[in-house]
């Protein structure tokens, strides 16, 4: 058998290429560094919250179960129970999801598939503008317009309510959902549309049976990001929630979601009180993780 392949030779790296490889290696490291930097800074924050928030339970003997299931929150009397807030957060998020997601997705579909190009070209950036309006102003709008509107039209004694929170959050989710979902829907290959239409499917049928399922990953991202926006929102919610410490039993009850609790009292909180607010943050974070997990599961199920 031939001998040549046995004497292994090496192509020496050309001088001009050596620099490229170095750059290549270096850039790979830089990219990795950037990815790590983002992850690290994010982990730092989580760590910070956990460190602060776990202190009362680890070092001061507070019971975590009492914290989660307690009905009373009176920091000045050393009572820290957040059950009503957990319930409020759940309801508020679900409500915003039920209201905001369909409207946002339908708008995205409309812009990507149905609207004339010229119309879409005006509306899409305008919707993005909504994303830039500070949440305080949404709160002001909610407090000065939505709250009195509910008061007057539903005959309530106070418009600050779960319903007001849901409305404001749903509105605030819109720009994120619309923008991200629209991009995803536009990226669906044309051949799917053509394939469906050529089978005599109606345009609407095509959109809902083929295009939207094909854009699923992007749509899930839209929902997750929009939901993140809604869950993390405080400034607007503080103004319209009423922040009462009762277990909500109807849409018209005023409520205090977890986020609001943190932002509302952080300015004056001290010692254990402050740590308990961080503990609220832990609960909130777990809540988000769980929700995203569920969404991811739903997303991957639909794919098969």
């Amino acid at each position: 058998m031939p001998s040549i392949s046995n004497e292994k030779q090496f192509i020496t790296i050309e001088k001009s290429n050596r620099r490229k490889y170095m750059l290549e290696k270096l850039s790979g490291r830089v990219f990795l560094f950037c990815a790590l930097l983002s992850v690290i800074s994010l982990l730092l924050i989580v760590g910070f919250v956990f460190y602060k928030g776990s202190h009362p339970f680890v070092a001061e003997g507070y019971s975590f179960l009492d914290f989660i299931f307690g009905m009373d929150w009176v920091p000045s009397e050393d009572k820290f129970g957040i059950f009503p807030m957990i319930v409020a957060s759940l309801f508020a998020t679900m409500g915003a999801l039920i209201l905001g997601v369909p409207v946002g997705l339908f708008t995205a579909i409309f812009l990507a598939e149905i609207a004339p190009k010229r119309v879409a070209k005006i509306i899409s950036p305008a919707v993005q503008l909504l994303a830039g309006i500070p949440s305080v102003l949404y709160g002001v709008f909610g407090l000065a317009v939505i709250v009195p509107f509910l008061q007057n039209n539903l005959g309530l004694v106070k418009g600050q309510s779960l319903l007001a929170v849901i409305l404001v959050l749903a509105i605030m989710m819109l720009p994120t959902i619309v923008t991200v979902a629209e991009t995803a829907i536009r990226a669906v290959p044309k051949m799917y549309r053509e394939g469906s239409l050529a089978l005599g499917a109606s345009p609407i049928g095509t959109i809902f049976k083929v295009v939207v399922p094909a854009a699923k990953s992007g749509i899930m991202a839209a929902i997750v990001l929009g939901l993140g926006r809604a869950i993390g929102e405080t400034m607007a919610v503080i103004l319209v929630a009423g922040n009462s410490l009762i277990l909500p039993t109807s849409l018209t009850d005023s409520v205090r979601p977890l986020t609001t609790n943190i932002a509302l009292e952080m300015g004056y909180a001290f010692g254990t009180h402050q740590e308990m607010l961080f503990a609220t943050g832990i609960v909130l974070f777990s809540f988000i993780l769980l929700l995203n997990f569920v969404l991811a599961k739903i997303g991957s199920k639909g794919g098969k």
Binding site: D72, W73, V74, P75, S76, E77, K79, L143, A144, V147, P148, Q151, V157, K158, G159, Q160, I238, L239, G242, N243, S244, L245, I246, D253, S254, R256, A263, L264, E265, M266, G267, Y268, A269, F270, G271, H273, Q274
Partner: protein, 258 residues
């Protein structure tokens, strides 16, 4: 171009900066005092940050700020950190309702009954037959602490479905848009979008507070650590306590110390 002039030559090295941070209710007053003070002392710059009493106290402790502003009394642990407090003014607290509300005068006892939920209808207080909506500040707020202490109920006794608003402005907006509502705000923010109530027949004015006829008030505090206080900082505190300073305090709607 215009702004460059307003920059008051901050680049000149001789300028001293006093950093102050803390309560959002003391903040606006401190800003007004600082503006007048800077007009007189070109060489001193004063930075006022309104970030909440606790954050201000923390900053004063850690040295991030030279002076902290607080609208609540210092806790024992905070005092233990070596913080000194100075009362720079008093803040009157007034009970407010929607302008359409016929009730204009309450006793301190009635106020307590409202906020603890013993009385839930305005008709029980001589007003229209409609539900009372209580608006309070958040737990830990200086005004709320003072209000509760003077009226005589504790946080745990506050009616559970009370609306909790953060800041005087939010209480004001809430009360101004709801004819059922009653809340309390600081004198500084009184305007005609809300109506103010007399307590035991006494009107809520600075004068009545000074004459101790009107009891709803609390101190505005500056806190600092002795070792962090600069000359410039000291000068500013002295200025506030001077008669010039106290005039500004009363012009701003707060109550002078003397």
């Amino acid at each position: 171009g215009e702004t460059a002039g307003n920059d008051t030559g901050s680049s000149s090295g001789s300028k001293a900066t006093v950093s102050i941070s803390g309560s959002t209710s003391v903040g606006p007053l401190a800003e007004k005092l600082a503006e007048k003070f800077k007009d007189k002392n070109e060489k001193i710059n004063i930075e006022v940050n309104q970030i909440g009493s606790s954050a201000g106290i923390t900053n004063a402790t850690s040295g991030v700020s030279e002076i902290g502003m607080s609208s609540r009394d210092l806790k024992e642990e905070e005092k233990a950190n070596g913080l000194k407090e100075t009362i720079i003014a008093y803040d009157g607290i007034v009970v407010v309702t929607h302008p359409s509300n016929k009730v204009k005068d309450l006793t301190l006892e009635q106020v307590k009954q409202i906020f603890t939920g013993e009385v839930t209808n305005w008709s029980q207080l001589g007003g229209e037959d409609m539900e009372i909506v209580v608006v309070s500040r958040e737990d830990g707020s200086g005004s709320r602490d003072a209000f509760q202490e003077i009226v005589g109920y504790s946080s745990g006794e506050l009616i559970r479905n009370a609306i909790i608003a953060s800041g005087n402005g939010n209480i004001k907006t809430t009360v101004a848009t709801n004819k059922h509502a009653v809340g309390f705000i600081s004198f500084e923010y009184i305007d005609d979008s809300i109506s103010t109530l007399q307590i035991d027949g006494v009107e809520a004015t600075a004068e009545n507070v000074l004459q101790q006829k009107y009891s709803l008030s609390r101190p505005f505090l500056f806190v600092h650590k002795e070792e962090n206080l600069t000359d410039a900082g000291l000068q500013f505190i002295d200025y506030i306590l001077s008669s010039d300073g106290q005039t500004i305090v009363s012009e701003a709607g707060a109550i002078p110390v003397k």
